[in-house]
């Protein structure tokens, strides 16, 4: 996958790689190309982190259509709220009950 090449060849840290991929996903969607990719690959396109960027743009654009300019700001997290909320809640609970294993 693309991410591995970025790790090894460009020597980027995981955080840099992820951020770049998210921006890539957002740009792809901005050009209207991500939707066809999802049609084609299903979860192959929705599970990777690029779809997070895609979802952010999607939310923004959907609200923009409905509510006008203010929608750009209110809509960004609309679609991704499931992923972020689930991540926060589960991680918080885990930290209460588990200790790092090393």
């Amino acid at each position: 996958m693309l991410g591995q090449l970025m790790f090894d060849v460009l020597k980027l840290t995981p955080a840099h790689t992820m951020s770049t991929l998210v921006v890539l996903g957002a740009i792809t969607d901005g050009l209207g190309l991500y939707e066809p990719l999802i049609e084609f690959a299903g979860a192959g396109a929705t599970v990777p982190i690029t779809s997070f960027g895609n979802a952010l743009v999607h939310g923004a654009l959907a609200e923009l259509k409905r509510d006008g300019w203010i929608g750009v700001v209110t809509g960004i997290f609309e679609v991704t709220s499931a992923g972020i909320s689930a991540g926060i809640i589960f991680s918080f609970l885990a930290s209460l009950f588990f200790k790092p294993k090393g």
Binding site: F7, D8, K11, P14, P100, K101, G102
Partner: protein, 336 residues
């Protein structure tokens, strides 16, 4: 005393009367597993944080070394120690528990020999009757502070090194039974502009070579004067670079046995350590365990331990700074 430009020759020959080593499970499974005094099966040692576990190991090693020397804590004049944590908390908090007058040092992974050299210096000049030198590191505290959370799934490149979980301590006195500290060379900070924190061996190798050359120059010696020369934690990559650097500088290291603690402590084929070991405890537990045993038995006559340290912090790495490195060498002689 001062010999040449940056070396000390200890004419009163301070004695390492006792040593103690405490390690974690991965080190216990390694090839030197049976040379350590205490092997913990639990990385956490029953404590509720990694930091406390590291501190506990330091305290155990210190107490054991004092006990083995046939002393009590009140008889120790000074404790010289350091570790990898921010504000060297592990050593300072151990010193609190021991309630012994204390020097806190930071030399990253070179702290083991830095503390031993200073302990020898204090004893040699009549400044103390018994000095405790020790250092510790813990794989998880180091990962947490210098890299990512321990459970974070990031892939490590083959040049990465595995921080040793352990603590090593020794007691240095003017007289007694045991190997003597005969000379020491304090290294300069060398920065060759390496920036990859996952390739510390390559960053540290020039520092080790520089210190060893300085040692030979100051004391007018060569590799043939030592049965063994060990570096602290260069691991596979750094060791190879050091080999080639010596060859380039026309120093024939084949006249001695040149090895690296970072390669001795683990079995790299079977253990998930990539290039080898690193950490303060790496050179400390190998020297105070395995090497000291051989010196006591007289299997080795004279060795040079060169502990290498990378003086970086996560902040300087993120700001794109290169990694300055240092190495300190201590020559230890067998008396049997």
């Amino acid at each position: 005393m001062l010999k040449g430009y940056q070396s000390w020759q200890f004419e009163n020959r301070p004695v390492i009367t006792s040593t103690a080593t405490v390690v974690g499970p991965e080190e216990g499974r390694g090839p030197l597993g049976n040379t350590f005094d205490i092997v913990h099966e639990d990385m956490r040692l029953g404590q509720d944080s990694w930091e406390k576990a590291e501190r506990t190991m330091m305290e155990e090693a210190a107490k054991l070394a004092v006990e083995k020397a046939g002393l009590t804590q009140e008889k120790i004049n000074f404790f010289v120690g350091g570790d990898l944590m921010n504000q060297i908390v592990s050593s300072s908090f151990s010193a609190r528990t021991l309630s012994v007058p204390y020097f806190g040092l930071f030399g990253a992974c070179s702290t083991s020999m830095e503390s031993l050299a200073l302990a020898a210096f204090i004893v040699n000049s009549g400044g103390a009757d018994a000095v405790l030198a020790g250092t510790c590191s813990h794989n998880c505290t180091a990962e947490k502070q210098y890299r990512y959370p321990t459970e974070y799934g990031s892939q490590k490149p083959p040049t990465a090194q595995y921080t040793v979980t352990g603590a090593g301590a020794c007691v240095v006195r003017p007289q007694g039974e045991g190997p003597v500290i005969e000379a020491a060379t304090i290294g300069r900070v060398i920065d060759m502009g390496m920036t990859d924190p996952f390739n510390m061996g390559a960053a540290m190798a020039p520092a080790a070579v520089d210190t060893i050359e300085a040692h030979f120059r100051d004391l007018q010696r060569g590799p043939e004067d030592y049965d063994m020369i060990v570096t602290g934690d260069l691991a596979a990559v750094g060791k190879r670079i050091a080999d080639d650097l010596f060859e380039k500088h026309n120093i024939d290291m084949h006249k001695t046995h040149f090895d690296d603690c970072g390669l001795m402590i683990y079995d790299r084929d079977k253990q998930p350590v990539n290039a080898g070991a690193s950490g303060c405890a790496c050179s400390a537990v190998v020297t105070y365990g395995h090497l000291m045993n051989q010196l006591r038995k007289g299997e080795l006559r004279r060795i040079l331990v060169v502990a290498t340290g990378a003086l970086l912090s996560p902040l300087t790495v993120q700001q794109g700074e290169s990694i300055p490195c240092i190495a300190h060498a201590v020559s230890i002689e067998s008396t049997t």
